[in-house]
Symmetry: C2
Subunit: 336 residues, 2 copies
């Protein structure tokens, strides 16, 4: 039996492109004590992957050239030498871009309840993106009724959930996104109160001022850079800025910009970086809350499903170019 794998064949010069990856036929590995063999069902395609393939210090080791691309995913345990897992269990973990993987304790994140929602939700609204939105918005942003919340990459998998969580808290939600079509989705599907297409907005600061006449209380930031500067100019006293991504910044390049410390002081404001990975141990608790809102119809989500392992590099390129809509998931095998 073969194990189809996609390896990183070279370091991307800028954004990772399909030509930076290679399909390979590997062996199906065998689990040692404390490990499980899993079959990959679905893979999560995340903007964070851009930072994993470069050769610069980060919150995870760079993926070595020639190795299977790192990836979160949903997988089914096929053979277990781990006391807590049995064959048939569905888990969220880090199988990587391959059909079969051996996972140890640190790559097994949480168990999936298949009756809760379609499997792909375990990677999206009830998974990593949902966790990111929850921790950033509910726990760091802490929006209150009547406050104004601005969300970057608002039509995206994380931003769309983050904005809806702010609306559930009673806040006025203003999205920033990269096309009129995405703005429409934010307004019509996700119930945002206003949305700016930054590509079509010559003076983003003025547009934010107009869209947020009472200033900005929370800015859910996955972009950084000039967009962050523009929002910070309109931050209210006591503003909170959870930072879950810096997609405007080139990995490995230290950009300069306006210093923030005076602004943070004068506005008594908070910037706080966070990673969903630090909260995987709370996933069952937090996704349980998200599932209640989902069941109650208070939370909507979109997915873009790509078929077959081989489409993963293209899915990643789409995510980084903003061509996808909603959570990008690659379907590798059927659960049944």
């Amino acid at each position: 039996m073969h194990n189809r794998q996609i390896v990183l064949s070279r370091r991307p010069e800028r954004l990772p492109e399909p030509s930076d990856f290679e399909l390979r036929a590997g062996e199906v590995p065998s689990p040692s004590d404390g490990e499980v063999l899993v079959k990959t069902l679905q893979l999560s395609i995340d903007p964070a992957m851009r930072g994993w393939v470069v050769d610069t210090p980060n919150y995870m080791e760079p993926v070595p050239v020639g190795s299977v691309m790192r990836s979160f995913g949903v997988a089914r345990v096929e053979r277990s030498r781990h006391p807590d897992y049995a064959a048939g269990d569905l888990v969220v973990g880090a199988p990587g871009w391959q059909e079969w993987a051996v996972l140890g304790e640190s790559e097994l994140y949480w168990r999936v309840a298949p009756e809760q929602a379609p499997l792909s939700a375990a990677l999206g609204v009830l998974g990593i993106t949902g966790l990111t939105a929850y921790v950033g918005m509910v726990e760091i942003g802490r929006p209150r009724a009547g406050e104004t919340v601005v969300v970057s990459t608002a039509a995206g998998a994380v931003g769309s959930v983050a904005g809806q969580l702010a609306a559930i808290a009673g806040a006025r939600v203003v999205g920033i996104t990269g096309s009129d079509a995405k703005c429409r989705i934010c307004l019509d599907d996700f119930g945002f109160d206003a949305c700016l297409n930054y590509r079509d907005t010559p003076d983003l600061g003025a547009a934010i001022a107009e869209a947020c006449p009472d200033g900005v209380d929370v800015y859910f930031d996955s972009v950084g850079g000039a967009m962050l500067d523009a929002v910070l100019e309109h931050a209210n006293i006591g503003a909170r800025i959870p930072i879950c991504g810096t997609i405007s910044q080139l990995p490995g390049h230290q950009a300069t910009g306006p210093r923030v410390e005076r602004r943070l002081l004068v506005q008594r404001a908070l910037m706080h970086g966070f990673l969903a990975t630090d909260h995987f141990h709370r996933a069952e608790e937090l996704t349980g809350r998200l599932a209640e809102w989902l069941d109650a119809g208070r939370l909507r989500h979109r997915e873009q499903i790509y078929d077959a392992l081989a489409s993963a590099p293209e899915a990643l390129a789409d995510v980084l170019a903003g061509r996808n809509l909603g959570k990008a998931v690659v379907r590798v095998a059927e659960p049944g």
Copy 2:
């Protein structure tokens, strides 16, 4: 009866100098309903005053040229038309640089218990500087036993208390200050574990790395700028950076520097600006805790007392040049 006052006679070009102020003989004012007439006993000289005398947006309105200089102070109520205050009450408020002042509700901060400590402590370790240290270190920094805490302007009124609060929490405390003499005080008087004289340190980043072999968990920042950049390079995962001042930044000038958002994300770190003024309503509770540590001998403090109202401009120049040691207080009148 005259009311000696010191007015801001012009906007300083850089740091406020005694020549930017003028002594004037004014009238003793009369309180209206809801106000009290107070006699100023002692005035607090604070680095924040630098930001109050410039004509740029800030967290308080600029002091108008020709007006009495704004100042916190301890004062005695002489005549009251406020239901909660009676003649003889001692209060911390904002009398300004003058012998007599009329204060309304918003300029009366909290009551002083004269038996608790010498009056000047109500402006220092049990007053505004103590509150600043408490909120920044205990509530935002939240140091844990065994963590490494770096404190800027470490021998100063706020820094020295902040560092001792970190030590009380069981952290290892590293000060940064501007002279060997101040480093000695941090080590000998305030019990810091290590101290760097930044003026004598060509590569501050390397010195921080050496003084903090386990990285930096909390940075109590009253400086901003290049010092903040240097500490941020050595910030641990989960680091907290309370910001209580930006003395390295010219007021009204937006400096540029390395962008922080990627670093905050990768380290899951927090920067949080705060002002003691937002916490004056909790002063009795928080200074009560500080008073317990003071009584128990776990908290030491230094004061530099200047005599007579006329010395206030010189005291301010000393504070901003780092020539003073400990909390700068101007004694205007005897309490008796």
